[in-house]
Subunit: 149 residues, 4 copies
């Protein structure tokens, strides 16, 4: 077993982490609709969506933040103990073929002896290819002091 996730002691308040970017395609939206059961016409009906303020289908907000959570999940591969809490404010739409990435900043760290680790709070922004913030919020995770051996 080999995981490179960061341990609790490796996070310091003020640390910044930037995810890879990914292009959000029509396929992501189709798959996410099927998984979540969310076939709202803003996401699945181009005829309808063309008449709405965003002029075309947009990604589900939860798809966008799921991609962001994937970055955190991989940052903590092998060291995450549990995902505790998250808050998201949706600021702008993600349209088909937008390319997004996540910027995290460590906002708080708090040791928790019982779990041999501690809580890390990340402030989070998801931005598109023009640098516009599409989502902002935070996520709080319980992280182990050690990597699995």
């Amino acid at each position: 077993m080999s995981y490179s996730g960061k341990t609790f002691p490796e996070f310091k308040v003020g640390d910044k982490l930037v995810s890879p970017s990914i292009t959000v395609t029509e396929s992501h939206i189709t798959l996410f609709a099927g998984l979540s059961g969310d076939f709202n016409p803003l996401h699945t009906n181009e005829e309808f969506a063309q008449k709405m303020p965003f002029k075309g289908r947009i990604a589900h907000g939860m798809l966008t933040v799921s991609m962001e959570s994937g970055f955190i999940g991989m940052l903590l591969a092998g060291t995450a103990i549990a995902f505790l809490e998250a808050e998201y404010k949706f600021k702008a739409p993600v349209k088909i073929n937008d390319t997004i990435h996540t910027e995290l900043e460590v906002a708080e760290t708090k040791p928790v002896q019982k779990y041999d680790g501690g809580i890390v709070k990340f402030n989070m922004q998801i931005k598109n290819q023009r640098g516009e913030t599409v989502v902002e919020g935070y996520a709080t995770v319980m992280v182990s002091n050690k990597r699995p051996s």
Copy 2:
């Protein structure tokens, strides 16, 4: 075009709404890992997960709340204007083959003339087949006064 989503005036503070239940399968987790990029071993490595506190792979927290968001998306099919904000507190794991549903309560409503609609805030709980709360939080959505004709 025919959408049955509820309009803004149809929501009253205190209204309760209960989603259908769905069984969370290994397939959901595999598909969600692929979509989100979150291959954290808590979700994808049974050998690893067996040694962790939850004794087996668990669903991604974001998968669980995505299913909940699907209920809101369909509740507002044709009437949602935008998803504004959400907060989630993860209280207990969702294990493979757990059957979950969402309970919503309308916590606030606030008309917004500019959008010919208003903001609805739902308090939310996701529960499993034993009635245990696995996630609690809220979601805030901009909803139209009218259904599309």
Copy 3:
């Protein structure tokens, strides 16, 4: 548990029901090919399909009617007992990015005491964004007299 499917007594001959519309994407076709095993070049090979009468890849007929069956499945969420019979006549192709919906009309109802419900026969048309009928046929379903409590 909360299902809003219609019960048998709620269907009357002549009732009309119209589904939401959905845009059929390349992703749907790719996924359906994988699920059905139908990689016929009319659906999966753009070079081949460009030389055929429809000038480009078309959706599998069974994908189109599966989407229609999804509407019936949700109309009877919690009240369907069994899907009995269906007939489909494919009238026109569904091309990538066409937006389709289903129109049902209750053609017959017949109580069946043994199942505490009855048989509902729907005449069905699937139409595209120009109002052209792409499929017509019928579907027959055994529906319960009661919603699950």
Copy 4:
């Protein structure tokens, strides 16, 4: 380009064709629910389905026949011109992990000069691993006289 689909003149009334068998898994059902939008609890909610006559989740009828149609699609790879018509009678449920196959018999053939091909009508049965018929019906397809060169 190389396709081995059968041409119209290669079909004779009375010909029998048997598909490979395939095991229908939970994953097929999860994916088909997402594609079709059919989250009926007979297919997606194990708690609900356990209380129903079939004692557990069953495959969507349209998933079963989509797999059968995949066999026809591949039988006519490069030679199918259009899928014309189909009828299905659902005789017994397909449960998770059942292994199904399709048996076709050529019932009619009719040349159509305009398309340089003809119509083939197949009578069809889908059977499970115990030899029980789960679906019967027919499918009618326009087939070319020639293979693409």
